[in-house]
């Protein structure tokens, strides 16, 4: 086994061919699902562009009724999000159910006492994860991930919440690339053009919260991560030292979110160290 094209991403380009990309990701979903012996997928549909792209890819791959979308609004979730999610369900003809997570999240608050906004956001993300994994057992399905490469690298997600999934077709696509793929896949325009938001509280906006525009940070990440250029080269490319350092710090600080829990080695053959099998072991 050996190299791909030497020119790929070495220049930090974010361009991709939507047709081939769709084919690769569709094959990925089919292969990784069917090798488990399962036929169905479950995913949370937020009304945002990431879960829309994931479900449009899935709908090109398996029969739409085998896709079980969960619309999981909280009391403060935007009506527009729910409407956009429903438009996806109608467009694709997939199975869907809407479950209000307010009683679960509020019940948590009643039991443990009031939590701040960030912790409440985490509780919501984990309530959704709990529901998705429960539905995956009910439907004999795998949970399809919807985290993109930008948010995975910046650690902009809840560990064991929205970051949890069995397979993620879009985890190697930056937000900017998700947008270009969305157009090719026919994702409704209202979803493609609205400001990105985790929708954990009213008027939440990813870019305000992160402090970066996606277009800008994606270009920087493609340089730092994919092309592995030096800090000096990134500065030459027009990025401020402050932004580069902030992004780098964020990536380093959130590494724990991209790893399973680490295990203390005290035996001859330890999980994660020298007990080494791929997840697709014997499939």
């Amino acid at each position: 086994m050996t190299k791909g094209s030497p020119g790929v991403a070495l220049d930090g380009s974010l361009e991709l061919d939507p047709q081939w990309t769709t084919k690769i990701l569709s094959n990925f979903i089919r292969t990784e699902l069917h090798r488990t012996g399962l036929r169905d997928l479950v995913l949370g549909l937020s009304g945002g562009i990431d879960s829309a792209v994931a479900v449009y890819l899935a709908a090109r791959t398996i029969e739409p009724p085998r896709i079980h979308a969960c619309l999981l609004p909280y009391r403060t979730s935007s009506e527009d999000s729910l409407r956009d999610a429903r438009s996806v369900v109608d467009d694709l003809g997939i199975d869907a159910e809407t479950i209000e997570i307010s009683p679960i999240v509020d019940g948590f608050g009643k039991t443990t006492g009031e939590v701040d906004r960030l912790r409440l956001g985490n509780v919501m993300a984990r309530a959704r994860m709990t529901l998705l994994y429960d539905r995956s057992a009910a439907h004999r399905a795998l949970v399809l991930g919807t985290s993109n490469k930008t948010e995975l690298l910046l650690g902009y997600g809840t560990l064991h919440g929205d970051l949890a999934s069995a397979l993620n077709p879009i985890g190697d696509l930056y937000k900017t690339q998700i947008r270009s793929l969305a157009e090719h896949l026919g994702v409704p325009e209202s979803i493609r053009t609205k400001p990105p938001s985790a929708d954990l509280w009213p008027d939440q906006n990813d870019e305000d919260e992160l402090g970066f525009r996606y277009e800008e940070v994606d270009r920087l990440l493609a340089l730092l991560i994919d092309a592995r250029v030096s800090r000096a080269t990134a500065i030459e490319a027009g990025f401020s030292a402050g932004v580069i350092d902030d992004v780098t710090h964020r990536i380093v600080r959130t590494q724990f979110k991209r790893k399973l829990s680490i295990i203390a080695k005290i035996s001859t053959r330890s999980i994660g160290w020298d007990f080494r099998y791929p997840r697709d072991w014997m499939t």
Partner: protein, 298 residues
């Protein structure tokens, strides 16, 4: 060589499932017999899958293992090129390619260059081979290389110098997506490499790359045959399983070697001299010329 018809067995092996892969080989071989092919070529590690890690010793077989019997049996009808993990003397586990013909293993090649960088971990999993030899097949002189071997120019050169007229390249090349208006990444770069190698060595190049997905890693496929002029003579699609049949004509080899007598004109003594000098510099060895001179003085 004589004219041969080759089937490119572009399959998606099942990871770690030797029996299922063996059956897939037999199925494809039967199909290739039906198409009038003289031989069928499968990808690198076609009997085991790629991301083996700790499964390497569990799947390794000595080449006289009875579990290979069904493959030998199938080779009574058609020659087969396939890949597996070899349990070699001293329990060195090699990434090995086999040429199986008329019920026996006619030749084997142990992967020389084990990529151990980026996403590749082969240097950790396998022992490296240390010889490259051509062999006489029932239809003519041939050689085998495995994937990364082709990226090291001397491998194909040595085979051609020994007399190989057809070089098989078994591969597990992953794709890294595609740029706008371009093919998936592994396909275009491999085609260029194979075309250049074919032109330099004036040999037929038969490249078979796997497809399918392991732990999210997608293999590009795009198997192809390049003639000794460097022209694509036949190819399989990217990403999908396929059985592509291509005719390799001896006349094309003759014409290419007539038009471009590169092999005839190779200066082995020059290469040997320069190589000796490089070796001396690289490993800081005593200069053989200098010591001879000194001996004479004494």
């Amino acid at each position: 060589m004589r004219d041969i018809r080759v089937a490119l067995g572009q399959i998606a092996p099942r990871l770690g499932d030797f029996e299922a892969n063996l059956e897939a080989h037999r199925r494809a071989a039967r199909e290739a017999v039906g198409s009038g092919s003289d031989l069928i070529v499968f990808p690198e590690l076609s009997l085991t899958g790629y991301l083996l890690a700790d499964q390497v010793p569990e799947l390794a077989l000595p080449l006289d293992d009875p579990r290979l019997e069904p493959l030998l049996e199938a080779s009574q009808e058609i020659d087969i090129v396939a890949g597996l993990v070899e349990d070699a003397p001293g329990h060195r586990f090699h990434n090995t390619a086999l040429y199986v013909s008329r019920g026996r293993v006619l030749h084997s090649h142990r992967k020389l260059h084990l990529p151990t960088y980026g996403l590749f971990q082969e240097g950790r999993e396998f022992a490296a081979g240390n010889r490259v030899r051509h062999f006489d097949s029932p239809w003519g002189p041939a050689g085998m290389l495995i994937c990364e071997d082709l990226w090291h120019m001397p491998c194909a050169w040595l085979l051609a110098q020994q007399g190989a007229e057809v070089i098989f390249v078994l591969s597990n090349g992953p794709t890294r997506g595609a740029k706008p208006g371009r093919e998936v990444t592994s396909v275009a770069v491999w085609r260029e490499l194979l075309q250049i190698t074919a032109q330099f060595q004036t040999t037929w190049m038969v490249y078979v790359n796997r497809v399918g997905c392991e732990d999210g890693l997608t293999f590009g496929g795009g198997s192809l045959v390049v003639d000794p002029f460097g022209r694509v003579a036949g190819n399989a699609p990217a990403l999908d399983e396929a059985l592509e049949v291509v005719d390799l004509k001896s006349d094309v080899l003759r014409r290419a070697r007539t038009a471009y007598p590169l092999l005839r004109d190779e200066n082995l003594e020059l290469v040997e001299r320069e190589l000796a000098r490089l070796r001396q510099l690289r490993y800081d060895l005593p200069d053989p010329a200098a010591s001879t001179k000194k001996d004479k003085v004494v």
